[in-house]
């Protein structure tokens, strides 16, 4: 199934909208972990953690190896990078817009004879 960039980003942002899932992603950013290792710091049952992992897996943010006995979770960098890059691109867009708006506002408010105060 092919999804558009927007649909992929929607799924990524929806998955990241939950604090527990953000925490899971942040921990996996450092290295692969098993479900048991991921469950440790949370006051959550294994089925509870599994539910969060399924959402992250469906969004493409994490993958789990089929063959390994403990099925460690792996962060999929490209999916996360796409989201981070999108945020950075939009931050830059607004930053550049605001730089130019600042210039425009100065021009609008400059004394009409052009003399500096």
């Amino acid at each position: 199934m092919t999804r558009t960039v927007e649909q992929r980003l929607d799924a990524t942002f929806a998955a990241l909208a939950d604090p527990t899932r953000r925490s899971i992603v942040a921990r996996l950013a450092v290295g692969d972990l098993t479900v048991n290792e991921l469950a440790e710091p949370f006051d959550l049952s294994l089925p509870g953690i599994s539910k969060h992992l399924k959402v992250l897996e469906r969004s493409g943010l994490i993958s789990r190896r089929r063959e390994a006995q403990f099925r460690p979770c792996h962060l999929e960098r490209p999916a996360l990078d796409a989201a981070v890059d999108w945020i950075e691109a939009n931050r830059r867009l607004w930053s550049e817009r605001f730089d130019r708006l600042d210039d425009h506002l100065r021009t609008l408010q400059a004394p009409p004879n052009g003399d500096l105060p």
Partner: protein
């Protein structure tokens, strides 16, 4: 289930009504809407600033002339405090809040949300406290060496 994806803030040395006008009138938007290296031609801006009104712009790349049209609808136009619109294609909602800081200074806060505001329940709105852009910066720090 949602919260803002991006929060950008900036303070301008100008009165609030003027900053608000700049964000809603084509004659002003043409001066700054396109980021560096692009322009936003006046004759291709539509800003029918009322709820349901069209907000269309085209950003033209100065180097090669390629054009990036965007099309949105205004959701809220409350001069001079708040302005929001939803992009037709992505469903992204952008809210701009204008705060009068006194002494002719105005703070503008931009929030981008990836789910239409009218679809959010109060519980979801309460989730706005943490922003994904801060999380993204945190992750970039954590994993900077690996990128």
């Amino acid at each position: 289930m949602t919260e803002h994806v991006l929060h950008v803030t900036r303070t301008f040395d100008a009165p609030r009504h003027l900053v608000f006008s700049c964000m809603t009138e084509p004659e002003h938007l043409t001066h700054f809407w396109g980021p560096i290296g692009t322009s936003a031609p006046l004759d291709q801006i539509t800003a029918d600033a009322r709820p349901g009104g069209a907000f269309r712009t085209v950003m033209v790349n100065d180097a090669d002339g390629s054009a990036y049209p965007t099309s949105a609808r205004y959701l809220e136009v409350s001069a001079p405090e708040r302005l929001s619109w939803i992009e037709d294609h992505s469903g992204m909602t952008v809210t701009a809040t204008f705060t009068d800081l006194g002494d002719d200074r105005t703070q503008v806060d931009i929030e981008q949300i990836n789910v239409p505001a009218q679809m959010m329940d109060p519980a979801a709105q309460a989730g706005f406290l943490t922003s994904l852009d801060r999380f993204a910066a945190h992750l970039a720090r954590l994993t900077g060496a690996q990128r």
